[in-house]
């Protein structure tokens, strides 16, 4: 009661990521929000900090065999196989819808080779209405025997540097958590010209149906996401903000404002909400509202004051 009296009446939720101004620090995580239109019936897309699309490749990709998803304790595994409509279809059939909104569109993309990464970036660079690119480097590098771009700092540097040459749009690089030392990767992509870093992508995991003795995913191994992974994600963001100057977007297991706040407090400038969209199509709207309430109750006039305010 007494506390309420001290409260500020307004709160600024606006944040800035590499020149992109977000109304608030909440946006969907790639691959969990389709191309935006899937959730438009449930959520006002204008209320979001940004819209992040499903990962695009140069050509359409059909994805993996099913089963593609399964639930685990506090999380889920997926092996969608990066199914997507490809960059051209996106431009013609998905972008017009997204342009209607007063919300920055961040396009997530990937390639099978360094060249392909560059080609997609170049194509998207020309595209009006795209506020920024998010580059997913968690894909297997087909030229180098399937090692993942993001797990080898040298490959990460080279790929980001190649993309950097192809676009002047804000470039966010999305890191995989499946590495020994995230700080090395983070510095490599910053050095290669990333304007921002987002993390984490999914942790690789596996589940077995003990009756059939088959993996629960057709692809055997998949990506683990959801609340279960949040502590790992918070730790990784904490480690990355210590060694880079570019802004960081925190991702992993965010379902509520409390969860988003953990990332902001350790130093993320914004966050992405993934699996929680499946659980509650309105999750991001609730998080934004709760964030505001939290700031009001704690007397925080500007959310930027919270960012990196961890007391250790």
């Amino acid at each position: 009661m007494k506390r309420r009296e001290k409260v500020e009446k307004t709160v600024n939720l606006q944040v800035d990521i590499a020149g992109i101004t977000l109304k608030n620090p909440i946006m969907p995580a790639s691959g969990t929000f389709g191309y935006g239109e899937e959730y438009a019936p449930y959520l006002d897309l204008n209320s979001l900090g940004a819209i992040v699309t499903k990962g695009l490749s140069l050509n359409p990709k059909a994805g993996n065999n099913t089963p593609r998803v399964c639930e685990t304790v506090g999380g889920m595994l997926n092996a969608i196989g990066l199914q997507n409509v490809g960059v051209e279809q996106f431009i013609h059939h998905k972008m017009p819808f997204l342009k209607q909104f007063d919300t920055p569109v961040i396009v997530n993309f990937f390639g099978n080779t360094q060249e392909e990464y560059g080609e997609v970036a170049a194509r998207l660079d020309e595209l009006p209405g795209v506020a920024g690119l998010e580059m997913n480097i968690s894909c297997p590098n087909v030229k180098h025997g399937g090692i993942v771009f993001g797990t080898d700092p040298k490959a990460a540097f080279a790929t980001v540097a190649a993309v950097r040459k192809k676009t002047s749009k804000p470039l966010i690089v999305k890191l995989t958590p499946n590495v020994t030392d995230i700080q090395v990767t983070a510095r490599a992509v910053e050095d290669a010209g990333a304007d921002a870093i987002s993390l984490i992508n999914t942790l690789t995991g596996m589940a077995v149906d003990v009756k059939t003795r088959q993996p629960r995913l057709a692809n055997t191994i998949g990506g683990l996401s959801g609340p279960a992974i949040r502590p790992i994600a918070v730790r990784l963001v904490h480690q990355v903000v210590q060694v880079v100057k570019v802004p960081v977007i925190g991702i992993g297991g965010i379902s509520r404002a409390m969860d988003a706040l953990e990332f902001l407090i350790v130093g993320a400038t914004a966050v992405q909400v993934g699996t929680a969209n499946f659980v509650d199509p309105n999750a991001m709207a609730t998080i934004i509202a709760e964030l505001k309430t939290f700031c009001l109750e704690e007397g925080i006039a500007d959310i930027n004051d919270l960012i990196g305010s961890l007391k250790v």
Binding site: G31, T32, F33, G34, E38, Y39, P41, Y42, K54, A62, G63, N65, T66, P67, R68, V69, C70, E71, V73, G74, G75, M76, N78, I80, Q83, D209, K211, T212, A218, G226, P227, S255, T275, N277, F278, V279, D280, P281, N282
Partner: protein, 291 residues
């Protein structure tokens, strides 16, 4: 297509292991079409994390509480207890908070039901067929073939009969109705009604057998498919089935949650078709009925 934060109205065991739940559901009588489904959130907690998909059995009105209040709309689902989510569901009571996302997906094509119709359902597969039967203009021209492993799996017989739809019951172990697979009954009925269109929902092996029979006879078939789902709205791309012409080189995947769950059988690929329901259907019969 809405997310309703709503409540359970009733929840009753209708056969061992099968429960029928009524949920307060504004607008569903107007919006829901036969064959559609909902994504049901069992509880606000994070366990189970994901929503569970259930077919809509029926949508209806409850008597109004008083003269000036409009009557309340509800839907009913029927579910089998198979895992963690449905185990929690069987413990829900009147008033418990739940969430409904829906109605979702494509429905059956009602234009196809103008002539003779044969509805083929295995176990829980009867659920969407009931709402389809409700919508058929001339119920006397429809019949439903109700199959199950044993007598416990035979549900909704009286409900169909009340609609005036003729029912044929069969169980694999003979504990209720004819002994044998529902597909055997289907072959018999198709001989009687060669012009009938077929509508099927049930475990994958049944669906596959039905598809083969219909393809061989050149009969139009609509199937309701099941796949593991995360979002239910076409965003996660988890729930795909293989479309007609699918090959490893040129794959074609269709979302069960948006393009389906009801498909024209001719729009799907039927060789080596894998599905979650293959897994889900694997449990032995525990009813104790002697064959």
């Amino acid at each position: 297509m809405k997310n309703h934060k709503t409540i359970v109205l009733s929840n009753q065991e209708v056969s061992p292991g099968y429960f029928r739940m009524r949920i307060l559901a504004p607008d569903y009588t107007r919006l829901a079409r036969p064959g559609q489904f909902v994504m049901f959130r069992v509880q606000r907690a994070l366990l189970p994390l994901l929503r569970r998909p259930f077919g809509i059995f029926r949508a209806g009105f409850m008597p109004a509480d008083c003269d000036t209040m409009p009557p309340k709309e509800f839907i009913e689902i029927i579910y089998k207890v198979v895992g963690s989510g449905t185990e929690i569901m069987q413990g829900l009571h009147y008033g418990d908070p739940v969430e409904l996302l829906g109605p979702l997906g494509s429905g059956f094509d009602l234009n196809l039901t103008s002539g003779d119709s044969i509805l083929v359902g295995g176990g829980i597969g009867l659920v969407p067929l009931y709402m389809l039967a409700e919508s058929i203009a001339e119920p006397s021209r429809a019949e439903v073939l109700i199959g199950g492993r044993c007598r416990d799996d035979i549900i909704t017989v009286t409900e169909f009969e009340r609609l005036g739809v003729r029912t044929f019951v069969s169980t694999e172990d003979g504990s209720l109705g004819d002994r044998g697979l529902v597909t055997k009954v289907l072959e018999q009925r198709m001989e009687q009604k060669p012009q009938a269109k077929v509508f099927a929902c049930g475990p994958m092996p049944m669906i596959r057998a039905v598809e083969k029979i219909c393809r061989d006879k050149g009969v139009h078939l609509q199937v309701s498919m099941e796949e593991l789902m995360a979002c239910g709205v076409g965003a996660c791309l988890g729930c795909v089935v293989k479309g007609e012409g699918h090959t490893t080189e040129k794959p074609s995947y269709l979302c069960t949650c948006t393009v389906g769950p009801v498909f024209n059988a001719s729009d799907l690929a039927w060789d080596d078709h894998q599905s979650a329901s293959d897994v889900a259907g694997g449990d032995g019969c525990e009813c104790g009925a002697k064959p």
